[in-house]
């Protein structure tokens, strides 16, 4: 199984964990992060994710390689969806597995921070008022500073 999947279809967290963990007894801590489509005020009709197909996999692979270099990890997995999603739908899944919980927590947090600021995806929100590209958040760029040596 590849560490990275960029796909239209939804994912199954339990199946992904089972695949990564299968036959392994050296894993003591599993962290998952799931990002979902929010609709705070009931105005969102859909969200569309565009991505740069040629570059996305490479960026996500590079982010995972960086995580393996920083923490003792037994497994990492990133699934990111693209296309048209509805409120409540899953967008992204990150899974990290390690012998100990701190490595698994930190690596998942790190993967999300780097994915947010480097993986070439763009979200557009569709409401009754039309479609709008979501602006990048300053806080996502600042989050990277936490990981500087």
């Amino acid at each position: 199984m590849p560490a990275v999947s960029v796909q239209k279809q939804d994912f199954d967290i339990a199946a992904e964990i089972a695949n990564l963990k299968q036959g392994r007894l050296d894993i003591g801590a599993i962290v998952t992060f799931t990002g979902t489509v929010r609709d705070m005020d009931g105005s969102l009709k859909s969200m569309t994710l565009e991505h740069y197909a040629g570059m996305t996999d490479n960026e996500l692979d590079a982010i995972i390689a960086e995580a393996y270099g920083r923490w003792p990890l037994q497994a990492c997995r990133i699934i990111h969806r693209y296309g048209r999603l509805k409120p409540g739908d899953n967008i992204v899944l990150v899974i990290t597995m390690s012998a100990h919980r701190q490595a698994a927590f930190q690596a998942a947090d790190f993967l999300m921070d780097f994915l947010k600021s480097r993986a070439p995806f763009w979200k557009s929100e569709e409401t009754d008022a039309g479609a709008n590209w979501i602006d990048a958040r300053e806080s996502d760029a600042e989050a990277l500073n936490r990981w500087q040596d």
Partner: protein
């Protein structure tokens, strides 16, 4: 030839997602290529109006605006990413 790609609102402003152009004479960096594209028409001028809002990848790797380019490169222009 250069392969040019545009994503998100950069794509909407230029009106194209992908195009091939001949490497223009005297163009050796992304910056000078952007100047050349801006001069094409109003749509491109609007797309590249504020380069602080544009991210650049050459051959699928992030680069700065002063990065060198050469014949055969794939050059992508897009806004700051918003996935995850």
């Amino acid at each position: 030839m250069l392969q040019l790609l545009y994503f998100s609102w950069v794509r909407e402003r230029t009106g194209t997602s992908e195009e091939q152009i001949t490497l223009p004479d005297g163009i050796a960096t992304v910056s000078t290529l952007v100047g050349h594209l801006r001069a094409k028409n109003d749509r491109y001028a609007a797309a590249f109006e504020d380069m602080k809002q544009i991210r650049i990848a050459v051959n699928q790797r992030y680069v700065d605006p002063d990065a060198a380019i050469k014949d055969g490169d794939e050059i992508a222009f897009f806004p700051p990413v918003t996935g995850g």
